[in-house]
């Protein structure tokens, strides 16, 4: 039984990185309707920057922040230059996804070329695990969970209580109406790109601290879980994404303790099937959807 409680603890830690990524993904996707596959590369970038700054003697926490900020900057630059050009030319939804895929390949393989395809081990001081009820965490892990939960609370408060947050949600629902009501939707979209890039970069860093290795392709292994969490929690819903991430994180770790250690990621399959069968409403929107408006 203890083993299972431990697995729940690991699950909560895994959920920290999945949740950060899923919140960023869902925020951007719900607002712009661009299915951004490029976040895999962005998460790798956030992790790499955090790793490099940690190796340069900067504290890992500050490194995570730097990783998030640089990921945020790259995301915004890509969106406002490359993605905006194709959106203006009337690229369809899927074509935009293909373009983010192309950008992701360039970023990812550029990182791979610079890092010579290496996988770097992260060395941070690991303290003894402390007990928290039936759960056990190291200090670092506990901080990661608190950071992720704090980000979730702040983001939720921001979206529901501040003027900018309300404007962001309004733009997500109906960009034309929001613009007509005097919301500067352009700036709102910019804010969403920055925020989502930051969250995904942070997610990559947190993932690295959790698994203690980083390479150019680390973000890809996180991406499928992030997308499943974002879809499960309804595109655009930060609360849904956080909750789904928690469920996926715990389920994957419990499965791996139950004896199927290498199948933990395959559990995402099950979740995907669950979404399809039990909550198809989250994925609905008419069969022809190329009419959904893209706002970059």
């Amino acid at each position: 039984m203890n083993l299972y409680w431990e697995a729940v603890g690991f699950g909560v830690i895994a959920a920290a990185s999945i949740g950060l990524g899923a919140m960023g993904f869902t925020l951007q996707f719900g607002l712009t309707n661009v299915l951004n596959i490029g976040y895999g590369a962005i998460m790798s970038l956030g992790g790499i920057v955090a790793y490099v700054s940690h190796s340069a003697g900067i504290s890992i926490w500050f490194g995570l922040l730097l990783g998030g900020l640089s990921a945020s900057a790259v995301t915004l630059i890509v969106a406002k230059t490359i993605l905006a050009v194709y959106a203006r030319r009337g690229a369809a939804l899927f074509e935009m996804a293909m373009i983010t895929f192309g950008v992701a390949l360039i970023v990812e393989y550029a990182i791979a070329a610079i890092t010579r395809n290496n996988t770097y081990p992260l060395t941070i001081a690991i303290e003894h695990a402390m007990s928290l009820g039936p759960l056990r965490f190291t200090k670092v892990q506990l901080i990661l969970v608190i950071v992720a939960f704090g980000v979730f609370v702040l983001l939720d408060l921001f979206l529901h209580l501040t003027r900018l947050g309300v404007a962001l949600r309004a733009t997500a629902v109906d960009p034309d109406l929001a613009r007509a009501s005097g919301i500067a939707t352009n700036q709102i979209v910019t804010a969403a790109w920055l925020l989502s890039g930051f969250l995904c970069g942070l997610a990559g860093g947190v993932f690295m601290v959790n698994i203690l290795t980083i390479s150019a392709f680390t973000g890809d292994s996180l991406l499928s879980l992030v997308i499943v969490a974002a879809l499960m929690g309804t595109a655009g819903s930060v609360r849904g994404a956080a909750l789904a991430a928690l469920a996926i994180g715990i389920a994957t770790q419990v499965v791996s303790v139950a004896g199927a250690s290498s199948y933990d990621t395959a559990v995402a399959y099950g979740f995907l099937a669950l979404v399809l069968l039990a909550r198809p409403r989250t994925l609905q929107g008419g069969l022809v959807t190329d009419r959904v408006q893209i706002t970059v």
Binding site: A91, M98, L105, Y109, A268, L276, G286, L287
Partner: protein
Amino acid sequence: MQDFVSISLVYLGIYALSTLSLNLQYGYAGIINFGWIAFQAVGAYIAAVTSLGPASPSGFQHYILGARLAFPLPLVLGTLAGAALALVLGGLILTRRIRRDFQAIIMLIVAIIAAQVVIATVGLFNGANGLSGVPKPFNGVFHLSYHGYQWFYVGWMAVLCIVVYAGQEWLCRTSWGRALRAMREDDVLAGYAGINIQALRVVVFVLGGAIAGFSGALLVEFLGTWSPDAWSFVETFVVFVAVYVGGRGNNFGAIIGAFLVPVVIGTMPSFLPQFGYPGLTANLEWIVIALAWLIIFYLRPVGILPERRHIATRSRVSARVNATTT
């Protein structure tokens, strides 16, 4: 050099079948199969295990369904495996009212996780090491030299590509092909016109899956090996780019795309003089393909050979109208 040309030509054949398969699903029917590579992979695995012979517990590789079947059977079974996977996934995903881009991302996740499952389950298809030593068909029959066999395979691929191309081109010109295009443009209207959208979508998905499985089976019989490295999900991106560059909705364009993107652009960096550390050119290859995609899609979004406009000629329409009125 002779080797390089013959191997490139075989790859051209494989990619031509790949783009034809994806062109049928995406170019004609508008189904975004972002997990396309999984269908090629299952075809290759099934063809491999049904020609390798029974797996021995003490052998160096472990797999299911081991059998040593005569020549066309592994190819047929690989094709059927692609079709069966398409039937299951298509039935589960395409018959539901799910946004098209969500369908695409679900296919992508299926492909990513399929690779993880194959790597994790060593008993299935020998895990990350993959299968090797797959026998080459006809090799024992004709007693060809190494080069002779390479060129023989080029001819064999050419015949198969022409057959699949001709069959697909014919299908796309029939009323069935017209129904596909109608469904792609507006599935609601196509439904009003009496087309069973759900069924048509699954059928075309299964056909495309079968061609994908077929291409995988042919590839593994040529290479002799197949492992998760060979079918990472980014390969699907290459095939999509090839379809876009050639011209979606145009079967000949798809073959041109197969020639230009994976064969010409994809192998270009290997012509550069050796520089940097080993593995650098492979990284550059991906960057070049991605850049080429962004540039070509910007310059010519419809592709090199855009879809022909299918307009019924006036005489044929009026003839039919007259036939029905009189």
